[in-house]
Structure formats: C-alpha cells, structure tokens
C-alpha cells in the first residue's frame, strides 16, 4: 500500500496498515535497545559527569574559574546559550508553522523536533542561570511583590525580556510537545503487556479514551497552543537578539539582529532536526516514515535560509562600511574579516553561507551521508556565528586600552560538553521511552490519503 499527496507524493511508504504503524513506532519502546544505545548512553553520561563537575566548581568557587573578564564579560556561556536556544527553535517552528499552514508532511518529524526543542531549551536555560555572579539570587529577576518598596525589576532591560521570553517559550513548547504525545501514550498503554508500563503510560496519557469529543477538544487545544507558540518562535529569538541589538557596543548595536537571529535560529534548528532524523531513520529503520521526501524538504528549507544568512552577513559588512562608523568598520574589517578573529569569521561564513549551497544539487540532497555532514557543518557554523557576535565584539570595543583576547577554560568547555551530554541523554531517553513519531498524526495522514486517492492507488510512483 502506498499513499500519495498531490504535490509531495506518498508521505508514508511501505503500504502500511493502521495497526502496522502503531507496531512499527512502538516497537523500539517495547523491545530491549541495542548495544549502541548503551554505549551512547555511557558516552553521554560521561559528558554529563564532566559537565556536573564543571557546574559544581562554577557554583562553589565562582565564575572566576572561567576566562571571561572585565572586558569580555560574556564568553562561552552566552555563546552556548544562544546556540542552544537557536537549536531549540526548530521543533516548535517546524510543528507550528507547518501545523498552521496545514502541511501534513510534518507528521513524521514533528515529534522528534519538539522533543529536541525541549531538550535544547533546557540546556540553554542553564547558562543564563549559572552565568550570574550570584545565581542563588536569580529570583530577583522575577517581578514578584515584595516588601522592599516594593522593588520591581527593570522593565527596560533586554535581559528581563529575555527571561520572560525564554520561560514562556519553555513552558509553551513543553506543553505543546506533551499534548501531542497524549494519544500516543494511550496507544502504548493499550498495546503493552507490562503492568508497570501500563500504569506509567496510563498516568501519562491522562486517561485518554479516544472519543470523538476528546479528539475535537484535543485538536482545538493544539491549534490554540500552536497559535501562541507561533508568535513565541519569532519573539524569543528577536528578544534574545535585543540583548545585543539594544546595546551600544559596535558589532552588537545593529537593527538587523532580530530577523537575523530568528532566521539563524531556524537555520540551526532545522540542521539539528536533519541530523536527528537521519539518525532515527538509520537506526530504527524508519525509512518508510522519514522518507527522502522529508529530508529533501528540510534541505530545501536549509538552502533557502542559508541564502538569507549570507545576505545578513553581507548586509552587516556593507552597513559597517556604508555607515562610516569607524568602530564598526574596524570591528568588521580589521578584527573579523581579517585580523585576530579571521579564522572564526570565515568558519562561520563558509559553514553557514557557502556549504549549504551544495543542497542545490538533488544528488547531494538525497545523499544522506553528505546531508548528515552538511547539517553538522551548519551547527558548527552557527556556533561560530555566536562566537563572532559575542567575543569579537567585546574584545574590540571603543577604547583600545581595554582590548583583550579570550579563550575558554576547561570549566567552560566542561559546561558545554555537559549540556551536550544532557541533550544526548534526553534524546536517548526519548528514543527509548517515547514514540519518536507521532502515531496518531501519521495515521491521520494515512486516512487523509485513503479518502482522497483511494487505497492501493499509485499516483506519483515510488521514490
């Protein structure tokens, strides 16, 4: 059986029956994971332990154990924060924009993308917390009624907006992700033979019965949450960008930043989705669900976004020259393009603006190994982009007397590896305990195709 849409052809391959879909997707949860899973988990835990050690040192001794200083006061901490939050964009962007635009091809991918979002945002949220000098007083940033006047937070500060935006985003994306899983948890509950699993998934599914009334309410909640989240996807990274754009520092003070950051975030997020989906497809042999068509669509988006990124980089350079601002000109031309940070600048430019152009070729798009490598390059490039913005700008500000170079300490590297470990652990647990593909949504695609094109008909042929 094969079901095909008019434009994209079949969304699910392999002539699946409805029950087959459930079995295929739940089987990794029901069976014992392969050896690779334990090895991966071990490596992830090692990174996590290193990260925990770094965190312990950071909290007990102070952020003096990092190499940030009185000129470059933000370093790897904020680079990693922005990087993770960027990655955390794709899931929501993916599900919500495509949901609102009724793009049904998202169904095999959105679950994994959303899970990734939640993991990435949790990793991201760690950094603003520990980059504080006195993290135990972090609650000062929340506007709560108090007896000190009352003393309110500074509503003018982008960091406060940032705090609100990220917490809202984390809340909404986690709810949206969880909401999407409720019917699937019910499916697992119904299918599993283990009593413990039955109980756990029973609780997780909130007693879902699958009645029509439930489905109607379920879908409307989905749309409402989606509507809110769609705004947040744009606002979160715009607001993160105001941390920089609203400052007076050359290289930060740029009106281009909000769109540039949002697009950059979607770029890195989609690249991460691609990395992850290729892995899932390969490991769990989900090629019937995650088809070439899906990866092709992601690759097309990436090539388009990469053009926007390139345009943004060139606009920044052009404006640095055109504005005649000597400080910005110096930063762009004599610290980034040439100068002490040329390596980082060109790494960013090549990884983000040039390498993804390979996706113009259909052969490269359909070569999963190459696509996988390119998606990694994009994430490396996006890390360098944040390095460029944060470190190069701060180390070459107005007064040359305070110029200084910055390299991380092993503690800062440890924190970064730690969040990678946390992310990997989270993803591995997700592989193990949660349906990686939204079962009910895939089924809806099956049904949809059935009605429009009839069973067993082949319209666009095989890929």
């Amino acid at each position: 059986m094969s079901y095909a849409t008019e434009i994209r052809g079949p969304l699910v391959l392999g002539n699946k029956k409805l029950s087959q879909v459930s079995e295929d997707i739940i089987s990794p949860i029901d069976s014992r994971p392969g050896k690779w899973w334990f090895i991966a988990m071990f490596v992830a835990s090692l990174m996590l332990v290193y990260g925990a050690y770094a965190l312990y040192i950071t909290l007990t001794v102070g952020i003096g154990t990092w190499n940030v200083n009185n000129s470059v006061a933000w370093g790897w901490d904020i680079i990693n924060f922005v990087w993770w939050i960027g990655i955390g964009h794709a899931g929501t962007a993916f599900s919500i924009f495509l949901l609102l635009l009724r793009q049904t091809w998202r169904t095999s991918i959105n679950r994994a993308a959303e899970a990734m979002t939640v993991a990435a945002v949790i990793c991201a949220a760690l950094f603003p917390l520990i980059h504080m000098g006195r993290p135990w007083l972090f609650f000062y940033i929340a506007p709560y009624p108090n007896t000190r006047g009352p003393l309110w937070v500074n509503y003018n500060s982008p960091l406060f907006w940032d705090f609100m935006a990220i917490s809202a985003y984390l809340l909404i994306s986690a709810s949206f992700w969880y909401l999407g899983m409720i019917p699937d948890f019910a499916t697992i509950r119904d299918k599993t033979s283990s009593r413990i699993k039955k109980m756990v998934y029973g609780i997780l599914s909130f007693g879902w019965t699958g009645s029509s009334r439930e489905w109607i309410r379920y879908e409307s909640v989905g749309f409402v949450l989606g509507g809110i989240a769609a705004v947040l996807v744009v606002s979160v990274h715009s607001i993160v960008s105001t941390d920089f754009a609203s400052s007076v520092i050359p290289g930060w003070h740029t009106t281009l930043f909000p769109p540039y950051f949002v697009v950059g975030a979607i770029f890195s997020g989609f690249a991460m989705v691609m990395t992850l989906m290729i892995l899932i497809r390969k490991i769990y042999k989900f090629q019937d669900y995650v088809t070439y068509g899906h990866l092709d669509a992601i690759a097309r988006i990436l090539v388009f976004v990469s053009l926007i990124m390139g345009t943004a980089y060139l606009t920044e350079i052009f404006l640095a020259w055109y504005s005649g601002n000597e400080y910005e000109g110096f930063l762009l031309f004599r610290s980034r393009i040439t100068g002490p940070y040329a390596y980082e600048f060109w790494a960013m430019f090549i990884c983000n603006a040039l390498i993804p152009q390979l996706f113009w070729s259909k052969r490269i798009r359909n070569n999963l190994t190459l696509a996988f490598i390119i998606s990694l390059f994009i994430n490396v490039g996006m890390w360098y982009e944040r390095f460029n913005i944060i470190v190069t700008s701060l180390s070459r500000t107005y007064l040359p007397s305070v110029w200084v170079s910055y390299h991380p300490t092993y503690i800062e590297v440890g924190l970064y590896l730690g969040t990678m470990g946390l992310f990997s652990t989270f993803v591995l647990l997700f592989f193990r305990f949660v349906p990686m593909i939204a079962i009910h949504e895939v089924k809806s695609v099956l049904k949809h195709n059935e009605r429009e094109h009839g069973m067993g008909e082949l319209k666009n042929g095989d890929q």
């Binding site: 960091l159 007076v248 107005y398």
Partner: protein, 981 residues
C-alpha cells in the same frame, strides 16, 4: 533536664559571668549540655509527650535559627565610657611625616576608631602642596603587614627586649673597651632629633662611626657640588620657575630626589590657565621610557654611555670650556643649545647620573645659563639622599678585612641591593656583632645576629628636615602593633639613656627649633601648633648662594661598544623597600602597565633585529634570566630592567616576584653605577608571561586623547578639539537633557598636567577597599582598580609620543549600563551619580559589556578572606586597613567608581550640621585629593563658581566617546605639547 526543671530567678543565673566575652564560651557549653540532657531524656527515658514536644519545638527553633543565621556574627563591643575625643563612626585626622629613607612627604592620616586607614597629603606643605605619591598612599598598608617582625630576635629565635638590650649593650661596651670599631649603617637620616641621637651614640662610643648608604644615591650631585661650590649638598630645584627643562635620565617625576614635590612644581607650569599661553617645554634624554620621558615634549632615546658626550657637546655649544675629542655636534644638540641660550636664567638642566664628572658638566651648563639662584638653588640645600657611594665601598672592604667589630643596620638592606652582595655577606659574617633595626624582615636582617625591630612610621615619634628651612613632625597614630621599638629609642637605650623618644623629641625641639621662631611665646603653644600642622618652616640660614669655583679639566669621554644595560627604579617598587606591599605590587607601571615583576625592555627595532618577541626569556650576561617586553621609545641597543624586584626574604607577597638585578649594577671607582656596557644576552627558548593591565597601546586614530601643540593652541584654543563642537552642534536626541536640581557632581581631568604617576590608583584602592587579585588574575584582565590610567603611544615606535589618560566611571547622565541591568541594581541618583546597589546585584555582567569605557569591575571570586588571594584581605590584621564607610564586596557582584559617595555624604552632613549650603568644591574624592599634579578637579557642575564647571566650559574640554551621547560627567582637557618652534 529531664529529671525536672530548674527554675531561675534572674537571667544572670544562666550566665555565670557578666557581660564579658570570655564567659560566652561557658554559656555556650552550658547550652550544649542542656541540649544533650534534653536529647538524653527523650531517647533513653520514657518518651513523654512533653519531652517529645520539647524536642520538636527545640528542633524547629534550631532549624529556624540555623537557617536564618547564614553568616557568623562578629560582635563589635562599644565603649562603655566614651573617650572625650573619639566619636565612633567619625574619623580623626593627624598630621605626620612620611619618610622611608628616600622619599619625604608631609601627610595627614585619617584614623577611624583608633586605627589609621588612609593617608592624605598635607596641603600646608610648601614642598608637596597636598600631593602624595603611590608609595606614600600605600604606606598605610605596611602598618598592617603581618610579615613584619613581631618581636626582637636573636639568631632567628624570639628574645625579650630586656635581654636583647642587655646583651647588645654589654657587647657594645666590650667592643668600646677594647677599642673595636662600631659602625652604624643607615640610609639617609633626615631627622634632626635622630641625628642628635646618633651624635649621642657616637660620643658614647668614640670608636663608632655612622655611614650613610643610599641605594639610589645622589653621589654624583653631592661630589660635583663639593667640587664646584665647596658644599656637599643637593640644591633645591624649582621646576616651576623654568621655561625649559632638559633632563638627562633624571626621572624627576618618578623617583629622582623628591618626585612628589617635583610633580607639583612641574604640573603648575604645565597647566594652561585662562588667557595664559605660557607653558614649560621639557626635553628628555634617556635610555628606557620613564614616566618623566613619557611626559616630555621632546624625547631623545640615548644609550647610557652617550650621556656624557652629549652633555659635553651641549656645554661646548653653549660656550663653555672646550673638551677635546667631543662628539661632532648633532642638529638636535645644536638646536637645544640654541633654545637653552635663549631662555637664560629660565631653564634647568638636570641629570640622574651618579657619576660626579657628569654632574660637574651639568653644573657648568646651569652656571653658564645663569640658572643658579633661579631654577636651582644651593642656598637652600636639600638634605635627602646624603649618602656617598665611596663610604659603603670602603666599609665593605673593611668588613672583609675583619676590622669592623659591630655593625648596626638601620633601614637599609645591602645584602639585597649591594651590587656585590656576596662580599657584603662575607663581611657581615666576619663582623662579631651584627644588629638589624629593620622594621620588616629583609635579606640583611636574616643574616644578622640580633634583630631589634623598629616601628612603622605611623607608630613612631620623630621629625624630618628635608630641606634646610623645612621641618616636619612625625607622631604615632597607634600603639606599636607588634612588640617593636623605634630604632632611635633602641640607640638611646644602648647608650644608657632612658629618656622616652617623645620626651627626647620635645626637648630637642624646645632647645633647637623653638628659638628659631618668634610667633609663639611659650614652647607648649609652639609644640602644639607644629604637631597639629605637622610642619614648621623657618627663615633660611646661611650666606646665600655660593659662587662657582670650578676650574678642573673634564676627562675625555670614552666611547662604549655593544649592548648596554640600564637599571632603573620603577614608580611602584623603586628600590624594593616596599616590595611586600600588595597594593604597590599590583600598581600597573605608568609606562609598561606591567605588574608584579620586572622584565627586560628592548626597543621594537632591536627586538626585530634580534628575533625577540614579547615574553621570550633571555639571560643577561649569563646570570639573570628575564622575560622580554618590547617597549616603544627604548633606545636601540639597550636593555632596561627595573630594580626592586626579586626579594627573597621579606614576606609572602614579595618573595620570589621578579628578579633582583642589583648584581648587574657596576662598581665604578668611587660610585655605584646603574648602567653597564658590553652586555650579552642569550635566548632561553622559553616564554614567561608578564601580566599587564593594558595590552594594546595604539589609539587606532580614534579621538580618545585629543591633543594639539602650543603653537596651534595659541592660534585657536579649540584646536585638536574641533570634534567636540561638531558633536555638540550635530547631536540630536528625542529626550531632554537630564536636569539636576541640587548638586550635579562632575570631575575634570587635565590631560596636560596628569603625569600618569598612579597615586590616584592607590588612593582609590585604599579609600574604597579594593581587593588585590594577583598576577594571574591581572593577566586575565581582572584587575579591580576603579580608576585606571590608560597609556597610548603615537607616531614612530622608536620615538613615540605618549599620553596618559585617567579613566574612572564617567557617571554618564545617559548611562548605557543602567538600562540594561535586569534588576535595577545600578540606578542613577538625583545628583547625577551612577550607583551600584551591591545587595541587589545578581551579577549578569551585562552592564560591564555595555559600558563603552569598561570601568566596571566584577568580583570573579570571593577576594576577601580567601586563602587563594593571600594578600591583605586574607589576614585579620591586614583587614584593619579597610575603610568602614565602604562595603567589602562579595563574590559575584559588579563594582566601580562611586565618585567616593561616602565622602560626598560626609561633607553634606557636615554642612547640614553647620547649617549652610555645601559648596561642591569642598568634596574631594580620594583620587582628586591624592593627585600631586592637581590634574583632577571635582565639584558641582550646577555651581558656576566651581573650578570643575569652569573647566568643562573651557574650549579644551571634551568628553570621552561623546559621540555615543552617554553624557558623561567626567570631562577631559586636551593635551598640549610644546614642540620646538
């Protein structure tokens, strides 16, 4: 307690003692015992509901108490009876005199609750005019140095004063009886009363002699003046009366004779007053870039050996005695000779050389130029640095011959700084009785049989006579912290005199100084006035200016080949006397901005020719390894190294920091030379990073320091500062300029008179409890100073122009730091001050990033009470220097210059008590008060009478990065160079 309750009738029954601290321990023990019985009762006995409730209640209370007491409570015990003159919380000020053997400064010491905490200059002093130097500012920390000697020692073991006195007196008497030689070796003693005590000592021990050994002596000047004028003295220099200053390696703004006095004089003729377009011109010939050279209008890098030949040519060009084989006259020297001749009687030529021959040439030049009696004056001799190098050279020879029986060492450390240290050590070993009267441990006292530790100057009575008609009094601010005794008093005891030093001093003043004045009839009045003011000045005695009587030949100059080494005194360390002072160790060198150690400075071209890079370790003369630092302005083919580092035996802070280069000094016939020719060096292939507070030194064409020449300035006072008017004109904003109804505090910095000496940095550190962070942290760019002095080079790296720019918080009226703080921890007050609420700060560091001036500093670690930062903040004694008016910041908060808001508050309260309006000018932040050049001016910008308001209205005024529209409250006056016209 489970056996029944004990009822008490009075709360005192529970506390066996009274209100005394020692009983608290007993009370605590009792409380512990009670808790144990309570527990016992409930655990072993029948567990009644009552005991359960007791236990539950107790644990709830305990949990609450433990949770709410996060910090131990230190009790401050108030006075039971308030002493009449002390009001807790108010400071008292006492005038005294600072003299460390080299530098003299009249000071006023601020004392809080019985402990001195801050040094200020004495504005009544005709010498320093209220200025101080970094070393004077830092001296208060020396008082609280835990590494000082705590008791007398005999062969390194503790001994009582009584037995030390007995033993030493007996030994001295024995030596006297057998006619052995006793030598009192000291650095220059300028105290008339101490000199009188020394005279008493010498007459009590006829075989004794007093030898003065100055580490950086004025041997050359003294001997040359003896030859030229017949008096062995240093003249008074009047840089303020000169229109043209030519200095040959005399670092008179850094370490030469009396730098604080000279900075004050120099700055007064560098300042451009309204409608006053006269300004001194300063030409400097020197090897390494010194602070003096960095302020010169024209500077010529020369090798040390070239000094003499240039001076000879200059002398010849001016028309003096021709010397044979003089170097051909260079254009520079010819032009200079011309300039000098034009400013007859208004010029001043000085040389820092120790060679009497060179000083003789300088004397002749000054004589020919008619400067004697005008810009330099032997009629008013200066009594600093009286040591003659030959004396110590002879002494070391005699010590090695074994002809010295007793050596008493006061305030000098030859084992460390005598060039042939091992000779001194062997001589010391051959001396039967060696007594050190040093204040703090040093390399010499470590080898002495007895150590009879002296007092810090803030614990001492004394006086000083820095110049013939100028006297200073010294009074103690505190009882000796340790079991120490003034060296003068020790000498008195050993002669058998039991008079106390205070009485001796008073008697000395009564019989010697009281008669020299007519104002006060009674000695008591005279004494009290002098003690309160700290200063006593009399008429000059003597017979006016001596005549020049010099007919000697000047020897032919021999040309030297090869690389030359030049040893200099750094502004922070000088001769290493205060090396154990962490504030000074962490004071960035005014020129190189390096801290905590010394290094070999080489010129950029020389480095390129020899393949040297910054931090390459080189070994000089195969003995001393040092990292290279490329220094613009260094003479080609020379290496400059700072003295004063590499202390080994003085204390935790200094030991092992840097390298001692005194062994590279030369012993020429008759004098100790601080330069050496024919030096070799070899690369060691290693790197050693020198921590610097500023790494990049070029302004990149940015309008950071604006400067012009005097000529341009005369044509247009606005020259060099055209940008200011343009920005004022074109600046557009949607918002009104903020208005302040009461005060609007502001500061003005005159870049023309700021010499970059760094006194403000230490003053600020002392006033505002700024922690020392150590070399590693400085190299990570985490130095905590609230005020820094940026130094930029411009032009040819071999002969660069240098500028010094003090940068502190600008207190912007449109501050970028304020609106980015998420928790409003850095608000603006209604007097234009940008404040930091430490308790509110959570340390996002966003304000640091967004400050264009980068003046905000972060507490990366817990700096106080942290063994990893083992400086004064980590010892109970060292923390006594803290200013109680200023919070000690904890880990994780941002701090920065507050314009000394505690001082503003203090003056406001004072004015309120006096029921008057405060004149903003009365407030002086620590940096402003300390500045010997008066380059910083503070006041109320709303008061048009205040100097700061006049300065900010001056054509020369501009604001740093004013194009950002941050509206700073700190204005800068352009720098003006007096080029050759």
């Amino acid at each position: 307690m489970s056996g029944g309750k004990k009822y008490y009738q009075h709360i005192r029954e529970l506390e066996p003692g009274g209100f005394v601290r020692k009983n608290e321990a007993a009370t605590e023990m009792k409380a512990k015992a009670d808790i144990l019985t309570l527990l016992d009762g409930s655990l072993t006995g029948p567990a009644s509901r009552r005991s359960f409730l007791k236990l539950a209640g107790f644990s709830t209370v305990l949990a609450t108490v433990l949770n709410s007491c996060e910090k131990p409570i230190h009790k401050a015990i108030p006075y039971l009876i308030k002493p009449e003159e002390i009001t807790p919380g108010l400071s008292e000020n006492f005038a005294t005199s600072f003299f460390d053997g080299e530098e003299f400064c009249s000071v006023i010491v601020k004392s809080r609750d019985g402990r001195p905490i801050k040094i200020e200059g004495n504005p009544g002093s005709a010498l320093s005019k209220g200025g101080t130097s970094a070393r004077v500012q830092a001296s208060v920390l020396g008082l609280y140095d835990n590494d000082r000697y705590h008791t007398p020692l005999k062969n390194g073991k503790e001994i009582s004063w009584a037995s030390a006195d007995d033993e030493i007196r007996n030994k001295l008497n024995e030596i006297r009886e057998k006619g052995g030689r006793i030598v009192l070796l000291s650095s220059t003693v300028i105290s008339p009363s101490a000199n009188s005590i020394i005279r008493d000592f010498l007459s009590a021990f006829p075989s004794a002699s007093h030898i003065t050994y100055d580490t950086a002596s004025c041997n050359g000047i003294l001997l040359a003046n003896e030859k030229s004028f017949g008096i062995r003295a240093i003249p008074s220099y009047h840089f303020d009366k000169a229109e043209l200053i030519v200095s040959f390696d005399a670092d008179f703004l850094g370490n030469w004779i009396s730098p604080t006095e000279f900075i004050s004089q120099y700055a007064s003729v560098k300042k451009l007053k309204d409608n006053h377009d006269k300004m001194v011109r300063h030409v400097q010939f020197e090897t390494g870039m010194s602070i003096t050279g960095s302020n010169a209008d024209t500077r010529f890098p020369i090798k040390p050996s070239e000094e003499k030949s240039i001076l000879i040519s200059l002398l010849n060009a001016i028309g003096g005695r021709k010397a044979e084989n003089a170097e051909p006259l260079s254009d520079n020297v010819a032009g200079l000779a011309d300039e000098l001749s034009r400013s007859h009687g208004k010029s001043l030529v000085v040389s820092g050389s120790n060679d009497p021959e060179i000083q003789l040439i300088v004397n002749r030049i000054n004589h020919l130029l008619g400067n004697y009696g005008k810009t330099l004056d032997l009629g008013r001799p200066v009594y600093l640095r009286k040591g003659i190098d030959a004396d110590i050279l002879n002494l070391v020879d005699e010590m090695n011959k074994g002809s010295i029986d007793a050596l008493l060492i006061v305030n000098t450390n030859p084992v460390y700084h005598y060039p042939e240290s091992e000779k001194f050590v062997s001589g010391l070993k051959a001396t039967a009785l060696s007594v050190s009267l040093s204040v703090s441990p040093d390399e010499t006292s470590a080898l002495c049989g007895y150590v009879c530790p002296g007092n810090h100057y803030l614990e001492s009575w004394g006086d000083a006579q820095p110049a013939q008609n100028h006297f200073g009094l010294q009074q103690p601010l505190i009882n000796p912290v340790f079991s120490t005794r003034q060296w003068e008093e020790s000498l008195l005891r050993w002669t058998g005199n039991t008079t106390g030093i205070q009485d001796y001093l008073k008697k000395f003043w009564e019989s010697n100084l009281f008669p020299r004045q007519q104002n006060k009839r009674r000695f008591y009045d005279f004494w009290v006035t002098a003690l309160q003011g700290g200063i006593f000045e009399t008429e000059l005695s003597g017979s006016g200016h001596p005549d020049m009587n010099d007919t000697g030949e000047i020897s032919v100059h021999e040309k030297q080949e090869g690389i030359e080494l030049h040893l200099y005194q750094s502004v922070a360390m000088a001769t290493g006397r205060h090396a154990n002072n962490p504030w000074l160790q962490e004071l960035p060198d005014p020129v190189t901005k390096a801290v905590w150690e010394n290094y070999a400075s080489v010129s950029p071209r020389f480095a390129a020719d020899n393949g040297l890079e910054d931090f390459d370790v080189i070994k000089i003369n195969d003995t001393i390894a040092l990292p290279v630092l490329i220094q613009p302005g260094q003479a080609y083919g020379t290496i400059s190294v700072a003295l004063g580092y590499g202390r080994m035996d003085t204390g935790n802070v200094a030991n092992g920091m840097g390298v001692n280069v005194f062994p590279l000094a030369t012993i020429a016939p008759g004098h100790i030379g601080l330069s050496r020719s024919g030096v070799t060096f070899s690369r060691q292939g290693q790197k050693h990073t020198v921590a610097r507070s500023q790494v990049y030194a070029e302004m990149q064409g940015r309008p950071i320091v604006r400067e012009t020449t005097l000529e341009e300035y005369r044509k247009n006072p606005e020259s060099g500062n055209e940008l200011h008017r343009e920005i004022e004109k074109k600046g557009v904003t949607l918002y009104d300029k903020p208005k302040y109804d009461g005060f609007h505090w502001g500061l003005s910095v005159d870049l023309n008179s700021c010499t970059g000496c760094g006194a403000c940095i230490i003053a600020c550190q002392s006033e505002n409890n700024i922690p020392v962070v150590g070399k590693t942290e400085v190299s990570k760019f985490r130095i905590m100073h609230w005020i820094r002095i940026d130094r930029y080079y411009a032009g040819n790296p071999d002969q660069p122009d240098v500028v010094h720019q003090p940068v502190m918080c600008m207190h912007c009226d449109n501050a970028p730091c304020e609106n980015v703080c998420p928790v409003s921890a850095t608000p603006h007050n209604n007097e234009g001050l940008n404040q930091v609420a430490y308790t509110r700060c959570i340390g996002t560091k966003y304000c640091i990033n967004n400050c264009p001036y980068k003046v905000r500093k972060f507490n990366w670690f817990q700096y106080a009470k942290n063994p990893k930062f083992d400086y004064n903040g980590n010892s109970d004694l060292g923390r006594l220097v803290l200013n109680p008016d200023v919070t000690v910041r904890e880990r994780g908060v941002v701090e920065k210059c507050s314009f000394c808001s505690q001082r503003i508050q203090e003056k406001k309260l004072k004015a309120k008590l006096d029921n008057r309006v405060l004149n903003g000018q009365e407030v002086q932040p620590a940096c402003v008060q300390a500045c010997p050049a008066k380059a910083l001016v503070f006041g109320d910008l709303n008061n048009s009478e205040n100097t700061v308001t006049r300065n900010t209205g001056n054509e020369r005024n501009y604001y740093l990065l004013e194009e950002l529209h941050t509206l700073p409250s700190v204005g800068y006056l352009t720098k003006i160079r007096n080029r050759n016209t």
